[in-house]
């Protein structure tokens, strides 16, 4: 069936099984591969995207639940890839392998939108759904604080 949604500001009509997770619709059908598969069970956050401004786990969210909604992926976060969170991530060289970082960044952006000046505890609470096997957590905390402070 046809599912219509807005992906990174563009209208999209997907001919898709309604129970297909949004992740696979984004990756395999819409062709945007910045959103990652990590667990398929809403455990790791590599697949995190925004739907109407909220973080959702696209690996378990049926694409039908995104019908008529606005979905933003890492590719649509900022035109030139220069969202303050992305900039802070680069300034602190947060990424090691980088695979989980799309999801980490999407979670961090949503955190800062609802809490512009989070404490470490706020960060830990908001970011604990995102696994980084390379172990970049301490830098992620620092980068979120830096993004919260704005351009230095």
């Amino acid at each position: 069936m046809a599912i219509e949604l807005t992906l990174n500001g563009e209208s999209l009509s997907l001919d898709v099984e309604p129970d297909m997770p949004l992740l696979w619709a984004i990756r395999d059908l819409a062709g945007l591969t910045g959103t990652k598969f990590g667990c398929g069970k809403a455990l790791c956050g590599a697949c995190n995207v925004h739907m109407d401004g909220q973080v959702v786990r696209s690996c378990v969210l049926p694409v039908s639940a995104a019908a008529g909604r606005k979905v933003t992926t890492i590719e649509g976060l900022a035109k030139e890839g220069n969202h303050p969170v992305q900039v802070a991530w680069r300034e602190l060289n947060v990424a090691q392998c980088g695979y989980c970082q799309s999801g980490q960044i999407m979670s961090a952006v949503a955190l800062l939108e609802r809490n512009p000046n989070p404490s470490n505890d706020d960060i830990d609470a908001a970011m604990s759904g995102n696994i980084c096997r390379c172990g970049t957590y301490t830098r992620i905390r620092e980068a979120i604080h830096r993004a919260a402070e704005g351009p230095s």
Partner: protein, 751 residues
């Protein structure tokens, strides 16, 4: 323009406000030479490749070929740092190209923390020979001796005549020369990039979703495959009903893979592949398969009974691999004897990107693959043998790796993609699910370690026996392997640094029932856990401060050769003269980390500090952990301090990041990591049953110090891991007085 005659290229660009470009540089040179000069450099050749790692284009761009795999350790930044430095190339005029698998690059197996420690000289030589070739070209053109010319700022200069020519301008002239095979290296004082924390070269791609991993490659007309494998390793299919699978919308085909063969090596392990027009359809089709399995020879493997077998083996007579003095007599003569068994489970690497590869057959019967592989030449070999074609007919493109940790050294998943591409005649992408990754991998060995020390009246160790028991990596390559052997013993057993008069190190047999592979720091994980934990026990038995005891046990600064005690020791492939086991360097990192952590300070209630030191991959890391234990008995790791002596380092920030990552990886091993089997099948399947450390458990800070050193480089990716778990159990003892000898701590209700 006569005033341009004697200005440098950089100055010229500055004055004219021009960005670099071929035309501008040519103009600069022509003008500077004037009519009496040697004439303009011709622009004939588009590029020149002084060696396989460097290609200089006539637009001035220096292409550097990265023949090692990037999995987060930073080699795509560090490798060009070395080459560009030796070339005196401008960092902003570098273009990095990822190499395909090809023997012409030499060793590409990105494993064993080898990229810098084994290839520093090779990479320096690549840059230096390129530099000398460009200098020779310029010198010949100017008619001056090459030794009077220097490379600086992406150009060659002749100081006496104040001539200069950009690298791009020299391409055509250089293309007519023979490339030198050797050239002198720069002096350390002249380094521009080596030793500097250059930003991660892929930083933009990694933060914008543009980075391409093995799972991301897409080809036209591609099929997506998901493979159901036998729950027990080595099992086979009794019956298959794929009718429901074929009825799933989007499913195109169902294909049986050939039954597994022994030994497993890097080959496919059988199973049934469902191929579909998208990943989800393939997974849904796979769910609908009805398969009856014969679990085969490993179908009875069960972790609790296997544990009993390991404990029996490790407490029976072993096979000595190092003998110093006479431990039996020393135990007899000792004032007291202390012994303990340390136990650590199977582990899965569980990189965030599961194994994923895409392959297509080429028109001439060869195969082209794209994959997140640590070892593209092994991928060529495995695909070639799987398809029965020549290695030369297999082209393997290396994508970024979403983590590796040893898993992606094994190209079984690439062979699956290649096999299915041939069977279907279409490009096929194979993506492992997380459950596939955790259940069907190449596992880090479960291990039991027996330790026994004889102590004198003051509690000082006079004798040490260690027996190491685990199913061997060798079993993956040799079905006759019966236990630990070869290089595995070099990873933290034979290279024991302690100054104990009587020492015997032994192995004990253990048969393998899963595919055994390697995980970040390999056998060093369980050897360091046991040795560093047991040494800490001896400190408390002697009533000594653990740090002071550690230094005392190391003895006076000296260099150790295990051959003196009859052991065969390979020292990670390097001579001991170049990379000694130097107890003075152990002591230095211990002193440093203790100073950083404020060792000996008064701690809050229920807090403890633990210390551990371990040498692996030619580097030494000392680690201190501060943790607390709450009233419910749960551990919180507050801070971690690490001091690393890795000899010469290339990019300090990437070394620091590897230590930070190792601290977290080591915490996951200590707190959570455990793979167990029942009826031959791995029980765990995802990050719920195989948890790893999350943000909420991450320490408040991880402090890293890099020892300043001019020694040859050691490894960096792995050596941070081994001391972390023992530092944690030692800190737990300091906080509680309870000794933990078995991982993970989760099983004791401590997380």
């Amino acid at each position: 323009m006569s005033d341009l005659r004697h200005i440098s290229r950089r100055e010229f660009l500055k004055r004219t406000g021009q960005a670099s470009g071929g035309l501008v540089l040519a103009l600069s040179f022509t003008t500077a030479c004037g009519p009496a000069g040697p004439g303009p450099l011709s622009k004939g050749a588009a590029s020149v490749a002084p060696n396989v790692y460097v290609n200089v284009r006539n637009d001035g761009v220096v292409e550097i070929i990265c023949h090692r795999s990037e999995m987060g350790q930073g080699i795509r930044t560090c490798l060009p740092q070395i080459i560009a430095d030796e070339m005196d190339a401008d960092w902003n005029q570098i273009e990095l190209i990822q190499a395909i698998g090809d023997a012409k690059y030499g060793d590409q197996n990105t494993d064993g923390s080898t990229s810098i420690r084994n290839q520093f000289d090779l990479l320096r030589n690549a840059g230096a020979t390129a530099r000398e070739m460009l200098i020779a070209a310029a010198a010949a053109h100017w008619g001056v001796p090459a030794e009077d010319c220097v490379a600086r700022e992406h150009a060659v200069h002749h100081e006496a005549s104040r001539e200069s020519a950009g690298f791009g301008e020299l391409v055509d002239a250089a293309s007519k020369l023979e490339a030198p095979t050797e050239a002198p290296f720069k002096s350390r004082a002249d380094y521009r990039y080596i030793g500097k924390s250059m930003d991660t070269i892929d930083g933009f791609a990694l933060t914008t979703g543009q980075a391409i991993y093995g799972i991301d490659t897409v080809l036209p007309n591609m099929l997506y495959a998901s493979i159901e494998r036998c729950p027990a390793f080595g099992g086979t299919i009794v019956s298959l009903d794929d009718s429901a699978a074929k009825a799933v919308a989007g499913v195109v085909d169902v294909i049986r893979l050939p039954d597994p063969t022994s030994p497993p090596v890097f080959n496919m392990q059988g199973g049934v592949a469902v191929l579909a027009s998208n990943s989800w359809a393939a997974q849904q089709g796979r769910e609908a398969l009805k398969i009856e399995w014969d679990r085969g020879a490993n179908g009875a493997h069960e972790s609790a009974t296997y544990r009993d077998a390991l404990l029996e083996s490790v407490t029976s007579d072993g096979n000595p691999v190092l003998t110093r003095g006479d431990v039996a007599a020393a135990f007899e003569a000792a004032n007291s004897v202390h012994d303990a068994i340390y136990y650590a489970p199977y582990l899965s690497q569980a990189p965030m990107e599961p194994p994923a590869a895409i392959a297509q057959m080429t028109e001439d019967g060869g195969c082209e693959a794209w994959a997140c592989t640590q070892n593209p030449q092994a991928a060529q070999d495995t695909v070639a043998s799987t398809l029965g074609v020549d290695k030369q007919e297999v082209k393997v493109h290396v994508t970024l790796l979403g983590g590796g940790f040893g898993r992606k050294s094994k190209p079984d998943f690439i062979a699956e993609a290649a096999w299915l591409a041939r069977e279907t005649g279409r490009p096929v992408k194979v993506t492992w699910t997380r459950e596939d990754d955790i259940r069907h991998g190449y596992f880090h060995s479960v291990s039991a370690q027996y330790l026994k020390a004889g102590l004198d009246a003051d509690g000082n160790a006079t004798s040490w026996l260690q027996r190491s028991c685990f199913p061997s990596i060798m079993s993956t390559f040799d079905p006759a392997a019966t236990g630990p052997g070869g290089f595995e013993l070099d990873l933290g057993l034979i290279d024991n640094p302690y100054d104990i008069a009587n020492m015997q190190l032994e192995t004990a047999d253990a048969k393998a029932h899963l595919r055994i592979g390697w995980l970040r720091s390999v056998c060093n994980v369980f050897h360091a856990f046991a040795v560093c934990g047991f040494v800490d026990e001896l400190a408390y038995l002697a009533g000594q401060d653990p740090k002071g005891h550690l230094l005392k046990l190391l003895g006076k600064p000296r260099q150790i050769d295990p051959a003196d005690d009859g052991a065969k020791y390979t020292n990670y492939g390097h001579p001991l003269e170049k990379h000694p086991i130097d107890t003075g360097r152990y002591a230095a990192v211990i002193e440093k980390v203790a100073e950083m952590a404020g060792w000996g300070r008064v701690l809050p209630e229920r807090h403890g500090l633990g210390i551990a030191v371990h040498r692996s991959f030619l580097s030494i890391v000392a680690c201190v952990v501060e943790l607390s234990v709450d009233e419910a008995g749960r551990i919180k790791v507050h801070e971690v301090w690490m001091a690393i002596d890795a000899g010469t380092t290339i990019n300090p920030d990437r070394v620091i990041s590897q230590m930070e990552g190792a601290a977290i990886f080591g915490m996951s091993i200590a707190l959570h990591g455990e793979i167990t089997a029942k009826d031959g099948a791995v029980i765990q399947g995802n990050y719920d049953t195989y948890p790893v450390v999350r943000m909420s458990e991450a320490p408040d800070a991880i402090h890293v110090h890099i020892m300043q050193s001019t020694a040859p480089p050691g490894g960096v990716g792995e050596p941070g891991v081994p001391p972390v778990a023992p530092a944690i159990v030692n800190a737990y003892y300091a906080a509680t007085g309870k000794r933990i000898r078995e991982l993970p701590l989760r099983n004791a209700g401590l997380t």
